[in-house]
């Protein structure tokens, strides 16, 4: 999230969303939300589930959501972790895109209209 600078109004709106879901009040711990956002350091069955949300959400099944519930994670916690996983995966792409734009502008993107 460091590459999304406040040079445009998107920077502040983006940061606001990230700060809220990772650092604001929630049912799940901030550590678990950050792990879902990063898609790393999660216990099973959360790890397999969050990986699917991040990389192939269209393949998520009822059974996988049920398995996470059965493992003792509440619906509100699951809601938060799914949001963090989705925003995290999309953020990594977004930042890669912004970094490529910054690099293109630095090295001779000057004729940009």
């Amino acid at each position: 999230m460091d590459t999304v600078k406040d040079t445009s109004d998107y920077g502040a709106l983006f940061q606001n969303l990230i700060n809220r879901i990772l650092k604001g009040d929630g049912y799940s711990t901030a550590g678990l939300r950050q792990a879902a956002f990063n898609n790393s350091d999660l216990p099973e069955p959360l790890h397999a589930f969050i990986t699917k949300v991040a990389n192939a959400a269209f393949k998520v099944t009822d059974g996988e959501v049920e398995a996470v519930k059965q493992s003792g994670v509440s619906e509100d916690e699951i809601f938060e972790l799914i949001v963090c996983a989705a925003v995290g995966a999309a953020s990594r792409q977004y930042e890669n895109g912004l970094a490529a734009l910054a690099e293109a502008m630095q090295e001779g993107g000057q004729h940009a209209s």
Binding site: L17, R20, A57, F58, V60, F79, A90, Q93, N96
Partner: protein
């Protein structure tokens, strides 16, 4: 939806609003719109602010073009709900269904402007591979796309890479084409911040 709290966990004010919308429009509120009413302080409110800026804020892209980008990103993520929803908005904004369909089939061949084509292809690569290079961006700039238009397009791409994942994980109900048309009319008139 897959979590019971997203079906029945809304506060009274939201539930009343859902009932009124159903009576007035003739259609239940789509799941994408319901979701942002669930604990709006956590996700709905900050997400709507970003999406409204990207989809309806000042931009070198028209609303029709941004909705087309949203539909195209959704197509690559295989998110049926979002493809249908944003194809309908783009088609209504363009006043042309065929254009949207041809872009979703093959943006390389569709009858669209060079800047839009180059931008869609870049967003496609970013969505499929998770990254693009400075050279990929330079190709887009070379056909006349401004850097602020690239920023706008990346923001649309981000918003829909989030929404697509939520739609499929929560399993948004996919309603009839007529319901999507009604939803498109609303999104064109009112945007995403309502």
């Amino acid at each position: 939806m897959r979590l019971e709290i997203l079906n029945n966990g809304y506060k009274l004010g939201a539930r009343l609003l859902f009932s009124i919308i159903k009576i007035v429009s003739g259609y239940p509120l789509p799941d994408a719109a319901r979701l942002v009413f669930y604990r709006p302080d956590f996700y709905g409110t900050p997400a709507k602010a970003f999406t409204q800026r990207a989809m309806r804020g000042p931009s070198g892209w028209s609303v029709a073009e941004r909705e087309l980008m949203a539909a195209y990103v959704s197509k690559l993520n295989q998110c049926t709900f979002c493809v249908k929803a944003h194809s309908a908005v783009s088609a209504a904004a363009y006043g042309d269904n065929t254009k949207v369909e041809s872009v979703l089939t093959d943006p390389g061949e569709a009858a669209i402007t060079l800047p839009l084509r180059a931008t869609l292809l870049m967003l496609g690569k970013l969505t499929r591979q998770g990254t693009v290079s400075a050279d990929d961006v330079r190709k887009v700039i070379a056909v006349g796309v401004s850097t602020s238009q690239i920023e706008d397009a990346l923001a649309v791409c981000f918003a829909f890479n989030v929404t697509n994942r939520l739609a499929d994980t929560f399993d948004f109900f996919v309603p009839s084409d007529d319901a999507f048309k009604a939803g498109a009319k609303y999104l064109l008139k009112r945007g995403y911040s309502g």
